[in-house]
Symmetry: none
Subunit: 212 residues, 4 copies
């Protein structure tokens, strides 16, 4: 029960680890995943040596940031499930709320390199699978409630979700934020169950379609 490696660290080592993770998250979000390791170390206030002691190479660091981030989203999703009165509302809340949380990892994921790395990590896969399950419930529930169009599945929502959460790089902070919110709004309106629209092309994308 106390075997979790992170638990075993001395207090200062633990603090270093957290600082590095926070610095990496911020820098990945701002500049992508190709930043020199030295810059991350400096921004975390430690030497490169320390960074490498905690994370054996860049991939390990990217993986750790990703795990940390999926974790947050999953927590959000569960909170939404527990606190909202309908699945549609939970879904909407998650889409809106996670915008904040996702900013960093989404940008990181833009790097083709990062993608490959994340795909091969079982811890991340586990978190992702769990997240897919929760969303699956939202989707089916909201469709049962008659609020979500029935020609979509979890995969559609996840992809829209991931796509939209990639922050517009290079716009002013304020415009970027507003743009994201507005895009999500438009997308949500596009997801509503309303009569009369043409059906979407192809077939509903499921969680399994996300695996490549």
């Amino acid at each position: 029960m106390t075997a979790d490696p992170e638990t075993r660290l001395r207090a200062d080592a633990r603090r270093n680890r957290d600082q590095i993770l926070a610095a990496a998250r911020a820098i990945f979000a701002a500049q992508g995943a190709e930043v020199p390791m030295e810059e991350i170390a400096r921004s975390a206030g430690v030497g490169v040596g320390t960074l490498y002691r905690r994370f054996p190479d860049r991939d390990a660091l990217i993986r750790a940031v990703a795990v940390d981030n999926f974790d947050r989203v999953l927590r959000d999703a569960k909170a939404a499930r527990d606190q909202e009165s309908s699945d549609w509302d939970a879904l909407i809340r998650l889409l809106h709320q996670s915008m904040e949380l996702q900013l960093s990892i989404q940008l990181a994921m833009v790097s083709p390199r990062a993608l490959v790395i994340l795909k091969s990590d079982p811890a991340i896969k586990a978190l992702r699978d769990e997240l897919v399950l929760v969303m699956d419930a939202f989707v089916r529930g909201a469709q049962a409630e008659g609020r979500l169009r029935t020609d979509v599945a979890t995969g559609d929502v996840a992809i829209l979700f991931a796509t939209l959460l990639r922050q517009m790089p290079g716009k002013g902070e304020e415009v970027a934020r507003m743009a994201t919110r507005r895009c999500i709004g438009i997308m949500i309106d596009g997801l509503r169950a309303v009569g009369g629209n043409e059906p979407l092309p192809g077939r509903p994308l499921t969680g399994a379609d996300l695996d490549a």
Copy 2:
């Protein structure tokens, strides 16, 4: 009339230039803008030296790919304007059709580096401004037709457009293609003028908001 510098190249040089541009477009689309120049050269079937003779450095190459690409989109937009019977239809067609054309540049734009470069290039700015103008006409026209919701402006559409066209990297080719089409469909439904939805947050984003 034929003084255009590109026109003045010797036949073989011209062919090489085109091959390089095509290779760069494909590679940028597939792997982002940080690919080794040597790889681009190899894929174009020329030596690095040749690549550098045509494009003095990476920035110049990125710029050239971007110009080429904006050009295509602009052509598409004008064709849509000339051939469709309503502005709404023209807009829809552009969103659907340009999916193909945009793949490369959209990915390229993901690189923070590429962004900085493109912003400073007057030729690109000119093309972009012209594109914004054409889309502006579509947006106002479609709103006048009562088909496009009135709480959006050209900037909203452009951002959605750009965001969605970033291909999901890493999914299978077929799923990726379908996903893009479905996302565009959802987005279009979200843009329709229907009664009863809550208004979007913030204010309509104009073409000027895109300038950072």
Copy 3:
């Protein structure tokens, strides 16, 4: 008091820095300033990376060698001033003695590139100005002593000095050494105050004339 950046280096780093400087001095003297950085690194017994850590680019290295060298000459000049009994003797001693010290920098200065670099470096300018001042005193003093011809000024001496100290490249070590000494001897005889020679053309060149 020990805040001098060079003093703050770790012992091994310090040693490396010195080795690099020594190697660069020797190689610049022997082959000019355009030698591959790798060769300098190898000759200093370090990797290129280390060289670049200490000196961010070739220019910085050239500057550092130049500063180091001016420093030595200046020390020599002051020692001559303090230890010789007349200004003429101090001047002669400096001309003879600095032959050793100047070998490197003089050759370095031959490179058009090096020149540009050195001109723009304030630390080097300061050292040079100080050196000019000391030589100025020698020149005026020796003229007052009646031993130095009065139709020359500090600039003349400095130029002769600099010109002669450029080692003949390519001769055997021994001949080169002897040649330099003999040239200096002839030049000194040419500088002596003797009656009956035609005055030199033009006007005495001052320290200010050296500034280009």
Copy 4:
């Protein structure tokens, strides 16, 4: 008699060759011998291909410039011999006059690379040997006239000559010109046969000492 390769060239080819040589001389004088071949070609108003047709590689070009230049100096020396009334006067005239002619080659010779090249060229060696012979006659004659100090030999004069003629790079044109003239004046005064000076160190350097 007409087998001289240069004589066999067509008029336009001949003109090209001369333009290239003139351009190379000027550029070598101004910037040293490491200039891109393309720049020389451009400055000569021809393509690189043409340059390479005339001079198979850079070394050949350097050699040709050197031959051309030694030729001029030798012509000057012979003119001085034929027109001046004493050997001392001929020597002085040569030193003064060749300043003009030598500017280019002297700078070129500064390059360690150029030196190696020139040493191995028999045509250049022949010219140089002939020049040494003429100067030898000047030196012995002027010593017999009692005007040149007897503790120097041809090698000493040649080295002083070569050393002084390296223009100070980087000073203003006017100061540089004046400085050279004044240095030559001082050197000539140092060479005069006057009583009472200390003898020079070492032994007189002969023409043979120049061979390295």
